[in-house]
């Protein structure tokens, strides 16, 4: 166990130096939602990026972890699951920088964090949730979440008006509040299409199987094909999911945790992870309404 205040050298930190810097970068992207904690975290990670040696001190990450923990407590029970993951990951960096081999320690933490993130996600979808496997979840979410309005049109072929009628039908309490249904007769049935049913089935089972597969890949012992399955699965999942899910910070976090398990000698894999890290920004901010507009002619 090293002193918490000791600055580790770049050589000591080794392969995880890059993911540690990427962690600081993602924390800079406004994920903290409480104003004074956001200002504090921006100051902390800003200083860390300006003076990188700070990022190699366990005590520095202990302070970052404390701020993230304060944020979780302040926003409980409303914090998203990736906010908890960010705090766990920050704590993992504290522990790794306190040990004699930070690279190995952080890679181990990364592996088990990813295993359990994907295992619980698959368990919740496949077994514990009453409305996931029959497609109700994706159908309702596509139609009721205004952030997915363009996706809903793209994957259903319905008009904007029909999507909004579906929203009023599925969310009568909200419709009552927004008076969505006040300018016409109350919608009495759900508009659907074969295209919507196909894509809902595809997303429902595709996401569940992908999450279960990634969990299994990270859980199983190391073998010849394991790196390809683990990292290929995680990268494929991240690219596909965060092109549609409006939570780019979650994608950046998963990719950062994946990268922490890649040794320095695997240059191509490291380049692929960093490329994906930035690509998530492009796909998550892609203007889907233009695609829908083009399809509409």
């Amino acid at each position: 166990m090293r002193a918490l205040a000791e600055t580790r050298s770049v050589e000591e930190v080794g392969a995880v130096w890059l993911p540690i810097r990427l962690t600081a970068l993602l924390l800079l992207m406004n994920i903290v939602t409480v104003w004074y904690l956001r200002a504090l975290i921006l100051t902390l990670v800003g200083l860390g990026l300006l003076f990188p040696s700070l990022l190699r001190i366990a005590a520095y990450w202990a302070v970052v972890t404390a701020v993230l923990a304060a944020w979780l407590i302040r926003t409980w029970p409303l914090a998203d699951n990736h906010h908890y993951l960010a705090a766990y990951w920050s704590l993992s960096i504290v522990i790794a920088l306190s040990l004699s081999d930070p690279s190995r320690a952080l890679a181990q933490s990364a592996r088990w964090l990813l295993t359990f993130v994907f295992l619980w996600a698959a368990l919740w979808k496949g077994i514990l949730s009453p409305d996931y496997t029959d497609g109700r979840f994706f159908t309702v979410r596509l139609m009721t979440d205004p952030r997915f309005e363009e996706h809903a049109r793209l994957f259903s072929g319905l008009s904007l008006w029909e999507v909004r009628q579906n929203r009023a039908y599925l969310d009568p309490l909200e419709a009552e509040e927004e008076a969505l249904s006040s300018d016409g007769p109350r919608q009495t049935a759900f508009h659907t299409t074969p295209r919507l049913k196909f894509w809902v089935t595809f997303f429902t089972w595709g996401v569940l199987l992908a999450e279960a597969g990634v969990a299994l890949a990270f859980m199983l012992p190391w073998g010849r094909w394991t790196p390809l399955i683990r990292h290929g699965g995680l990268m494929g999942f991240s690219l596909g999911t965060f092109a549609f899910a409006p939570v780019a910070p979650f994608g950046w976090l998963l990719v950062t945790i994946g990268l922490a398990q890649v040794p320095l000698k695997s240059l191509y894999l490291r380049v692929a992870y960093v490329t994906l890290w930035f690509l998530i920004g492009f796909v998550s901010w892609f203007p889907w309404e233009h695609v829908v507009g083009a399809l509409d002619g």
Partner: protein, 101 residues
């Protein structure tokens, strides 16, 4: 990660009962109400109702009780017809006359 409709489809409703009858308060953007929807214990629901009632009375609104409820919406597996279901409800009574604003 995305897995169930129970969460995004929860709503908190607060009604105040006074001389002019019952009316609903708008708490759609209230952070405390959102927290109660996510974790609707009796104590948290009563605290929310008490806070809403106290705030209304501080503005001079006469009221005798405040009712707060958390709803979730279930969807029929075949038709997707929504079925609002009360998860928990609490009523707080106010007996002391409201202070003059």
């Amino acid at each position: 990660m995305f897995s169930t409709n129970d969460g995004e489809n929860r709503r908190v409703r607060i009604w105040i009962d006074g001389p002019e009858g019952e009316r609903m308060l708008d708490v759609a953007n209230n952070l405390q109400a959102a927290g109660v929807a996510a974790y609707p214990t009796e104590r948290r629901l009563r605290a929310l109702a008490t806070k809403a009632g106290t705030f209304q009375r501080s503005k001079g609104v006469e009221l005798s009780r405040v009712r707060a409820a958390v709803w979730r919406t279930d969807f029929d597996a075949q038709t997707l017809e929504p079925q609002p279901i009360v998860i928990r409800e609490a009523t707080v009574y106010f007996t002391v006359p409201a202070p003059t604003p």
